[in-house]
Symmetry: C2
Subunit: 207 residues, 2 copies
């Protein structure tokens, strides 16, 4: 996406990629807490200050694909609503995010690393949860905005919260059981299916 953006932009993206890869490698080798930002910068041959010009915190280097995934979900909602009913639109948005995670962050091992670091680093766990929470809020708002007559804020927040909460909890449980990637994404899909029954609680016209 957007390739020919001049040498300056290309070098910037290169620095960014190098920082991400270097950080992932060092976190893997030495552990998260034992790897300082200074170490990552040193190994990537830039200064510590440059790291923070690319990522607001140490944890954010693990979340590079997050924003794109949220945009994906918002695009699905924008394209499918309000022709399709809320339940189907939300289902498709959630499934798009699950598929995106499986295709972009399983090959390079980023999802697995993040899941592992989440278990034994409070800071990583906190950052990931905050990203999920923010994404959830944006999706809920987009869904409400797509059906302004039939969905209020609290209801939209509830059904999206239920879906996202269920999917995340199932993913964590699966990963802690040591499941293979395919088993984990299947568990996420099943959790979504279960949570989407929250729509059964709503009136006919809100589903």
């Amino acid at each position: 996406m957007a390739e020919g953006l001049g040498r300056r932009e290309r070098k910037k993206q290169q620095t960014r990629r190098t920082l991400i890869e270097t950080a992932a490698r060092l976190f893997n080798e030495r552990g998260y807490d034992a790897t300082g930002v200074a170490d990552v910068a040193e190994a990537a041959d830039v200064t510590k200050r440059t790291f923070f010009l690319h990522f607001p915190t140490k944890e954010d280097v693990l979340l590079s694909d997050g924003p794109a995934r949220v945009e994906l979900a918002l695009r699905v909602i924008d394209e499918r609503a309000p022709q399709a009913p809320p339940r189907e639109v939300l289902a498709e948005a959630i499934h798009a995010m699950i598929a995106d995670t499986a295709s972009r962050e399983l090959p390079n091992g980023m999802a697995a690393l993040r899941a592992r670091l989440m278990v034994d680093s409070p800071a990583v766990q906190a950052r990931v949860l905050r990203a999920v929470f923010t994404a959830q809020a944006r999706i809920a708002e987009a869904l409400r905005a797509a059906y302004p007559e039939t969905l209020d804020r609290a209801t939209a927040a509830s059904v999206v919260g239920a879906a996202v909460g269920a999917v995340c909890a199932a993913a964590m449980a699966s990963l802690q059981d040591g499941d293979a990637p395919e088993a984990t994404s299947e568990a996420m899909r099943q959790a979504a299916a279960i949570a989407l029954h929250a729509f059964d609680a709503l009136g006919e016209e809100s589903r």
Copy 2:
């Protein structure tokens, strides 16, 4: 609870209470980021080191009642399961937590302060979400353990994740709308009712 525990323990609890009250007051007056741990310690007439002997991080001083609330939910599950069906047991546990929040942390303003700080301090938001996530995991495990034949880990994680996710999302939405405390707790109860329909997705014997 447990009053006569000797002068030493009483003084320790007194120091702890003073730190909590002082921190809450200063956060209110000057804002969270503008108040350093050193300031809180100074105002409470102890050293910075003493603060960290009572609370592992600056954020934790806002979460003092959290653990007790989780224990409450676990006790409800322990007492009511497996006689009552999973759906009812989870509903009662959630309602107990909502009621406890409303009764213990609305009078002293702690809930309101925490909600406010959560909005404009990433660190507070992160810590609160992490606490919720941990609580959710413990409740899911307790529920699964109470019905070992009929609930697997992923399913338990899904329904609890749905319920907790919905309640939290609804609470945040309500608080950001500036609702009064009673309106917020009502929104939480409604969200729980909606999310508990996730049980409809399960087989007859798992509900």
